[in-house]
């Protein structure tokens, strides 16, 4: 064998990174503002899908609650980057030191990641003792709990009203860097000792437990890493649109990010990224149709809601006919030179 396993697996983040760079270059070359925003949105979804994958893909436990961490991150951006005067009006209950804080967006993303990781550790310490369906429903309860608190804590979150005045970052590059960072983090976690142990426990729980793998602890590590990635994504999401509300980070975003992960394939990092790219293209096409297309003299427009219906339908169909997603548990790698089994590695779709 000419390549070491590490070098071979290194091909995955490199290839995925190159795809993302290509998207950024296209956005830069086109130079259209709406298109730029679309690419930014794709990068954000990549961050979320990778964050989800770190936990769901490696542990096999379905989480409906990760968008709660994005919510935590998003509000960190609101708390730390809005001008103090504006904060005083919309969120008068913030402590003085936080009220006076005004940090750049990238620092807010880092703080958001840290804040989300802290809460992932706290929630995870409790939730990771559960498994299977009970764990999934408990993550759902966690999402509802965070949403309920942020929707009602008027003085520090402005309750359900929009918090405005978050500095908007329109350049595509920071989002590209963050998405690549998420991919590299996800990859590094996946090949780490913890990632391997967790996947072993996912596939052979009894054998893993017998060989001394502390499953709840392994899950907790994945939960914290994924929570941090979601927190970073949430903060950047806030900077991409300039406002946050609790419902920005609730069931809708949970559904979209989860369907992207499912369609790409929960079993691989490449699946998470490619699922985003695939479904984002579909959403973009449908958005275009919803806005109306000139056909001859008449305008043809799809009614609102078709986007989500199509997304749901694609998700269900994929689950029906290809439950392992587009990537079918495989990673994107370079074809192995001189190998006589080319079918095992390399993209098939």
């Amino acid at each position: 064998m000419s390549r070491s396993p590490l070098r071979r697996s290194l091909a995955t983040p490199v290839l995925l990174g190159l795809i993302l760079v290509a998207f950024a270059l296209v956005a830069w070359a086109v130079g259209s503002k709406p298109f730029n925003q679309t690419i930014i949105d794709i990068f954000l979804k990549v961050i979320f899908a990778v964050g989800l994958w770190v936990f769901i893909g490696n542990s096999g436990v379905i989480s409906f609650g990760h968008i709660a961490f994005a919510c935590l991150g998003g509000y960190v951006a609101a708390w730390t980057t809005i001008k103090p005067m504006m904060k005083g009006i919309s969120m008068p209950g913030l402590p003085d030191w936080l009220m006076q804080t005004e940090i750049p967006y990238w620092a807010a993303a880092a703080v958001g990641a840290g804040w989300a990781a802290v809460w992932a550790l706290i929630f995870g310490a409790v939730l990771m003792r559960l498994s299977g369906i009970a764990a999934s429903i408990a993550t759902f309860a966690m999402l509802a709990m965070v949403n309920s608190i942020y929707s009602n804590w008027d003085s520090v979150t402005a309750a359900t009203s929009s918090v405005v005045g978050i500095p908007i970052v329109r350049s595509v590059w920071p989002y590209l860097i963050a998405a690549i960072l998420a991919v590299v983090l996800g990859w590094a976690y996946g090949i780490s000792r913890h990632g391997l142990a967790l996947r072993a426990a996912r596939d052979e729980p009894t054998a893993a437990a017998a060989s001394g793998v502390n499953i709840p602890r392994m899950r907790l590590i994945a939960f914290v890493v994924s929570g941090a990635i979601m927190g970073m994504g949430g903060a950047l999401y806030a900077h991409s649109i300039g406002i946050v509300t609790p419902d920005t980070f609730y069931l809708g975003l949970t559904f979209i990010t989860l369907s992207m992960l499912v369609v790409g394939g929960m079993g691989s990092l490449s699946g998470a990224v490619l699922g985003v790219l695939f479904l984002s293209s579909l959403i973009q096409g449908l958005r275009w149709l919803e806005a109306g297309v000139q056909v001859g003299t008449s305008t043809f427009a799809l009614p609102g809601g078709v986007q989500e219906i199509a997304l749901g339908a694609v998700m269900i169909l994929i689950l029906m006919f290809r439950p392992a997603g587009i990537m079918g548990n495989r990673e994107l790698t370079l074809p192995r030179a001189g190998s006589d089994t080319p079918g095992r590695s390399g993209p098939t779709n």
């Binding site: 409790v126 559960l130 369906i133 309860a141 998700m315 689950l319």
Partner: protein, 304 residues
């Protein structure tokens, strides 16, 4: 005395909603290990069945004009029909899939139903007047109890008795209980899998419709999100009750209703807005100490 009685009625009527919801979820989980996330959207769809599709702000009443003795069967039929349809179109193809895959598929289906409603009716809540006479209060032992609350509780008790009798006394109920415990064995005794599962979906859908009638009368609005909260509490109730245990689901539903009502009373006024957050927190705590649920079902333990 009067206020205590009021609390009891509040707890029982809220618990009734959660219990009916939990029952609808546990029925389906029992026979096919499906956690049906589309249940809440079936509830919402039943409310919208009263209206004629339109995206205008003013609701155009359709079935809502029917007299109550036609209206109630109509809504129940809509719920049962939609639920059976979801089984025929979607879940039937997941018979050999694992529970996690089915759960995500149901999550996707829920969104499809929700956005279908959005497409037909828009996302604006619409006011409806469903069984308006029920909002009058009645006086019981010095407490003024809304008639609707009383009816909610009575209806729930009647449903529970009816369902118990159905499960215990009818051939279909026997087959359903057998299938819930060991599906393959039941099939080897000639129990038709598809018929039992369809029956479970029909019952579950009718229960969703019952919730829709109660919620619609209580709130006087139709909203595409209206099933979400009840559904979440119902899920939690099924987990606490021990997945698949019908009695456990009902008891846990009433327990949750009681906890929520009591919290509403004892929490300081500032914290009341966070009532649901406290309830979720309490539930997570319960699950640490009893991961199998408070009342775990004997038959399901070794298989899940």
């Amino acid at each position: 005395m009067g206020s205590l009685l009021q609390i009891v009625f509040d707890a029982l009527s809220l618990g009734s909603l959660y219990a009916l919801g939990a029952l609808g979820i546990a029925l389906i989980f029992g026979v096919m290990r499906l956690v049906n996330f589309a249940h809440g959207d079936v509830i919402a769809a039943c409310v919208f069945a009263l209206l004629w599709p339109s995206v205008d702000a003013v609701a155009i009443v359709f079935a809502g004009n029917l007299p109550w003795f036609l209206l109630i069967p109509f809504v129940l039929a809509v719920g049962a029909g939609l639920s059976v349809l979801s089984e025929l179109v979607v879940f039937r193809r997941f018979r050999r899939a694992n529970p996690a895959t089915m759960m995500i598929a149901s999550f996707g289906l829920g969104f499809v139903i929700r956005y279908f409603l959005l497409m037909l009716f828009s996302s604006r809540p619409k006011s409806i007047s469903l069984l308006p006479t029920l909002s009058q209060p009645v006086e019981i032992l010095g407490a003024r109890i809304p008639l609707l609350q009383l009816i909610t509780i009575l209806v729930t008790v009647a449903v529970l008795f009816g369902l118990t009798a159905f499960l215990r006394r009818t051939r279909f109920g026997l087959e359903m209980r057998a299938a819930a415990e060991n599906f393959t064995m039941a099939r080897m005794l000639g129990v038709r899998a598809n018929r039992v599962i369809m029956g479970a979906f029909a019952l579950s859908g009718a229960l969703a419709a019952a919730i829709a009638l109660i919620l619609g009368s209580q709130t006087g609005t139709a909203n595409i999100m209206m099933g979400a909260n009840v559904m979440l509490m119902a899920f939690i109730a099924t987990v606490i009750g021990g997945m698949g245990s019908l009695a456990g689901a009902v008891l846990a539903g009433f327990l949750l209703g009681t906890v929520a009502t009591v919290m509403q009373v004892i929490l300081p006024p500032d914290a009341r807005a966070f009532r649901d957050a406290f309830v979720y927190g309490a539930v997570i705590l319960v699950l640490i100490f009893r991961p199998q649920g408070l009342l775990s079902a004997r038959g399901t333990k070794e298989r899940v």
